[in-house]
């Protein structure tokens, strides 16, 4: 019994212990929150959830230049994610693995794959549900929630060291050859006072919009090209300019239908308002394997 009590105490105390053992410096700089596998866009989600039991896995790699210069000048990561869908619902798990995080200030992180070969940053466990519309319709509306599980070291600027939550409304639709998707949500981040002078602290509003044109081909591979804009604004200090905003031009090559198919995505982006995670520029590449629906 003492063993089970101790285990329970350790689990409850995990975030507090993590905070106690890490310094006050450092927070999760990354503001690229990838969509669930099968979501279509890099950040937005096309909410084409339907059919029987299905799923998808994805591998996403990215590099950001100056997301928080000069403390974090270079940041690269690999995200592995998996999703299971059923009818209108989807559950998913995203595991981001930092590959490089370093800066030119000398006071920032110096993470690389040799020093931290097995590091996992904040993991996301999510649940999405399509509320309105049908797959392929001109308007769909979904909602999503995520639990952010802290992992990694704050000194590496890959985690806040605290549990968090995300709640989003996810509109999307297909009108002829054009597709669009958006997000409006709240990232619940427990505040702990100013982490860095002038930094966003506490809850953040998430927003974004994506639009693209589909170019079908006779080979059965469609190409979708279009921009995604996304950003976040600190709830308590949005008026002080603590808003990050970036744009991404993405192209994806995909097979469509209910049979298992691949999707390749590449994106290149630029920080429109470079602030705490919105980098000077960013490149992304992703490979998804979307399973069949039974």
């Amino acid at each position: 019994m003492a063993s089970s009590k101790r285990l329970l105490l350790v689990l409850i105390a995990w975030p507090r212990l993590a905070m106690a053992q890490q310094t006050a410096q450092g927070f999760a700089v990354e503001r690229f929150y990838p969509s669930a596998p099968g979501g279509g866009w890099f950040v937005m989600d096309e909410m084409n959830i339907g059919g029987g039991l299905g799923g998808a896995i994805s591998l996403t790699g990215g590099y950001a230049r100056n997301p928080f210069a000069p403390v974090v000048s270079n940041e690269a990561f690999v995200d592995v994610a998996m999703a299971v869908t059923y009818n209108r619902s989807r559950v998913y798990l995203d595991l981001p693995m930092p590959v490089v995080a370093n800066g030119s200030s000398g006071a920032g992180p110096s993470l690389n794959i040799a020093t931290s070969p097995d590091s996992v940053a904040d993991s996301h466990v999510g649940f999405d549900m399509r509320l309105l519309g049908k797959p392929g319709s001109s308007f769909r509306l979904g909602t999503g929630a995520q639990l952010i599980i802290p992992s990694g070291s704050r000194a590496d600027y890959v985690t806040d060291g605290r549990y968090g939550g995300m709640f989003r409304l996810l509109p999307a639709g297909d009108i002829g050859r054009f597709s669009y998707a958006g997000q409006l949500g709240l990232y619940v981040r427990p505040a702990e006072g100013l982490l860095v002078p002038g930094s966003p602290d506490g809850n953040e509003v998430l927003f974004g919009l994506a639009a693209g044109r589909r170019f079908p081909s006779r080979s059965g591979w469609d190409t979708v090209v279009g921009p995604e804009f996304f950003g976040e604004a600190s709830v308590h200090s949005a008026s002080d300019g603590h808003t990050g905003f970036e744009g991404l031009l993405s192209t994806r090559l995909e097979r469509t239908g209910d049979r298992p198919h691949l999707r390749f995505k590449i994106g290149i982006g630029h920080g429109i308002v470079e602030h705490f995670g919105a980098p000077e520029w960013r490149v992304l590449a992703s490979l998804e394997l979307v399973g069949s629906r039974l």
Binding site: S4, R6, W14, I113, V120, S123, I149
Partner: protein, 445 residues
């Protein structure tokens, strides 16, 4: 679970997902010791009563990518408290789940991420059951398998006796693999590199090259695979005796790592006593013994080799015996596994079918380990390595008797009681014996 409802083809899987959690608690009783941490050497197993625990949770995810290609990702969480800071024992470490550098604060990490490509060359069709890190599928009995990425060497080399999950079997590290097999890995026991396996009916041969740690027993890894590496080769043969399955394996390893030789450390110290354990210029284990040599002065590219043999034989479908023994050269320090230079073990494992408990597992085993003469001389002078060294030593074989019974509860849970009796902890006849009682809770899906 999904296959029971007809939603998943478990014999020809395109993906699978398994999980486990295991909580192990060890209670070490107080034991007699002529001395502890003499003259500032720091690696004694403390003679007072202690408690240790590990808690792990693992998710095993697998997916088929294209014909013959499989990908696996295994995130894991661990929380632990070792005995005496994981010091004072060689291959007799009482809980194989313990990792170097682990903390009570749960740590999430990626234990494995690798690709596996199989090329079939015909022969018979071999059905492989679905399991953690294995898609249910059918292979040719003659095939080439290539693996690349991040994995445990023990996923492919010196696999568990009778394929019993170690989380249902012996708790002592001496039964996980050869105690003297210093396979290259990071502080958690995982490696990066590649393995090639050739299966030809009843025979198999495999070769692997993996990364060693940058500094002995630490987490950062040296990815310069052509400069520092751990190579291993294994030959395996499966057979039947009176209709019962058996396996014989021979494994040899050769590591080229940045490690120190005991003779070099002694020679440097004898030539200049100022080059001792308290004046180390670089990476060291923190000994406070100013009158002792230390490996920190002599680390450079060195070779470490060893050869071992394993055999297992089922006596009945539910009872089997196994044995393994390895000889390593013993000239250099432990880089990644245990301080043992030579090891031998024998064990008996059985399932409870005879008493109508077919999912229960019971076992009794004996493991012995030795250190080389030069290793003992280094320790007798007060030197320490990654795990042992208490200022003096009366060198003797460190041995463990481990006995356990795992009760299956509600199909997916096991409760285990385990007892270990350790003689000459840390290969030192001046200390011990040690008695450790353990309890394990294990669940899986």
């Amino acid at each position: 679970m999904l296959s029971d409802d007809g939603l998943h083809d478990i014999e020809n899987e395109s993906w699978n997902a398994y999980g486990q959690f295991t909580y192990i608690s060890n209670w070490k009783l107080a034991f007699p010791a002529a001395y502890t941490n003499l003259n500032g050497s720091i690696n004694s197993l403390l003679p007072t009563a202690e408690r240790s625990f590990t808690g792990t949770a693992t998710l095993y995810l697998g997916a088929r990518l294209w014909s013959g290609a499989e990908a696996y990702l295994v995130p894991e969480v661990i929380s632990e408290l070792p005995l005496s800071g994981l010091k004072g024992l060689g291959g007799a470490i009482q809980n194989f789940e313990l990792q170097k550098g682990g903390t009570e604060t749960p740590q999430l990490y990626r234990s494995r991420a690798f690709l596996k490509q199989t090329f079939g060359f015909g022969g018979k069709s071999v059905k492989t059951e679905s399991g953690p890190m294995q898609l249910g599928t059918t292979y040719d009995s003659r095939r080439l398998v290539l693996i690349a990425g991040n994995f445990s060497v023990l996923d492919f080399f010196d696999k568990n006796a009778f394929d019993i999950d170690p989380r249902q079997g012996f708790l002592s590290m001496g039964f996980l693999t050869y105690a003297a097999y210093d396979f290259a890995s990071d502080a958690r026991g995982y490696s990066y590199g590649g393995v090639a396996e050739l299966y030809w009916d009843d025979w198999a041969v495999r070769f692997g090259r993996v990364t060693p740690p940058k500094n002995p027993n630490q987490l950062p890894v040296d990815f310069r695979l052509f400069k520092y590496y751990g190579d291993q080769m294994e030959l395996e043969h499966n057979h039947k005796v009176r209709g019962q399955d058996g396996t014989v394996r021979v494994l040899a390893y050769r590591n080229h790592e940045d490690i120190g030789r005991f003779s070099d450390a002694i020679a440097v110290w004898e030539a200049d006593p100022a080059k001792n354990a308290t004046t180390c210029p670089g990476f060291n284990y923190g000994s406070d013994n100013a009158s002792a040599p230390d490996l920190c002065w002599v680390r450079k590219p060195n070779v470490k080799v060893g050869i071992g043999m394993f055999a297992q034989q089922s006596i009945t479908p539910d009872i089997g015996v196994f044995s393994r023994a390895m000889y390593s050269d013993g000239k250099t320090e432990v880089d990644a596994y245990t301080s043992t230079d030579r090891s031998a073990s024998v064990g008996l494992l059985g399932k409870g079918s005879k008493w109508s408990r077919p999912r229960d597992v019971a076992g009794v085993g004996f493991n012995a380990g030795w250190i080389s003469k030069i290793h003992a001389e280094y320790l007798s002078l007060g030197g320490i390595d990654g795990f042992i060294g208490e200022g003096a030593i009366k060198a003797a074989a460190e041995s463990t008797v481990d006995t356990f019974y795992s009760v299956n509860v509600m199909k997916s849970f096991w409760l285990t009681g385990d007892y270990q009796h350790i003689l000459n902890p840390g290969f030192n006849a001046d200390r011990g014996p040690v008695n450790i009682f353990s309890l394990r809770i294990h669940g899986e899906f």
